[in-house]
Symmetry: D2
Subunit: 126 residues, 4 copies
């Protein structure tokens, strides 16, 4: 039985976060809770759930579904997440979260700035 | 010049977070800010900086160095991070953060519990 | 235009490989080409393409589609990949690759063995 | 005892590979074995072993140490890996592998090319 659980962890795998996002989210105007909310959305999308409900997200966070909903709305307004509508072959309409705006923001932020020097110690190692 | 920046992002790479940690940190007793603090420590260790100062960590977070220090102390007390002392060949003593207690906690948590069913939808996809 | 390309790299992201798989594939009976083939399948599945053709896979590898096909068949026979059939709500049948057998193999392999000591140097660092 | 092994897998974690590297290594002039060799070097560096011996690398691959050595030399000649010399505070000289040339190559390759269309299906999903 334990074996099955362990297999499940391997199957679920890991989610990769670009280090530049981790070192720059603050300058993009995100706080830690917002970052985590985006990370959960990323993880849901990655698992094939492209439009998780506030309840589904809140179940993994220390936020209530209401707060989660408010935070989500704020992230959409501030331009970090988009809600996209798609119509499939059967003409069924569905909504999906997209993190495209986040990637755009981080790239714009990084290209505008001078090379960061904070990582001297890291660079020496590689 | 842009090219150098982009090369730097590739060099810095990504940090991998086990999905089970992302879906279970709340049940381990961590909130979002604490999770992010652990993630920053993980990222620093990974880059070869094994004992970042509260100032270094706070520079990447929306916390003041003082709050960061308090939170770190709390995480040590609650048994999520350990501070280890090492003595090198030149008999120089140094301190390092270790996330070993976090890995122990998550494994103990996962092995105790019955198989989680929340991921039905995900499982179907893989 | 370059900006769009860079955004695309962020969107495509990274794929996370468990380090134990990287250090143990040889003992599971896989060679480097087979490992890469599994990695490509993993990456396709992760992107939502759950049954890539030998042509799609071979386009990313230095193998011909024919060799790729043969190798795939061998991996199925040796029990590293499975082909699963699913029937959706419209009763449409489709086939999908599953890496479940690989996760099973690695977990069985790891649980059978005594603790590996090869990583002494690594462990000291963390 | 099993618990300790499982904790070890979490501690060892995962290594993140940029998807653009996975879909473009062939066009950079790398074959699967060479890619894996670079991946092993990446993993060693990441674990703090910055100059693994051909024996250490070969122990994880299906190559002999001699073949591994030859392949390494070829990768240095072809400009995918560099060997850097460093002198520490005690004036002790040491050598280290650097994947900087690989990151340079991939970025140059990606910036030169028109936007790749192969991922249409993936893009729709995100």
């Amino acid at each position: 039985m334990d074996r099955n659980k362990i297999i499940q962890w391997f199957r679920e795998g890991s989610i990769a976060i670009p280090r530049v996002l981790l070192t720059n989210y603050k300058e993009l105007g995100l706080n830690e809770t917002e970052f985590m909310l985006l990370l959960h959305i990323h993880s849901f999308i990655d698992s094939g759930i492209t439009f998780p409900t506030p309840e589904q997200i809140a179940a993994r966070m220390t936020l209530s579904p209401e707060t989660c909903m408010q935070q989500l709305r704020k992230l959409v307004q501030k331009g970090f997440v988009a809600i996209e509508e798609r119509i499939d072959e059967q003409q069924i309409r569905s909504e999906h979260y997209s993190l495209e705006p986040l990637w755009e923001k981080i790239v714009r932020h990084l290209l505008k700035e001078p090379l960061r020097e904070e990582n001297e110690q890291e660079e020496e190692l590689y």
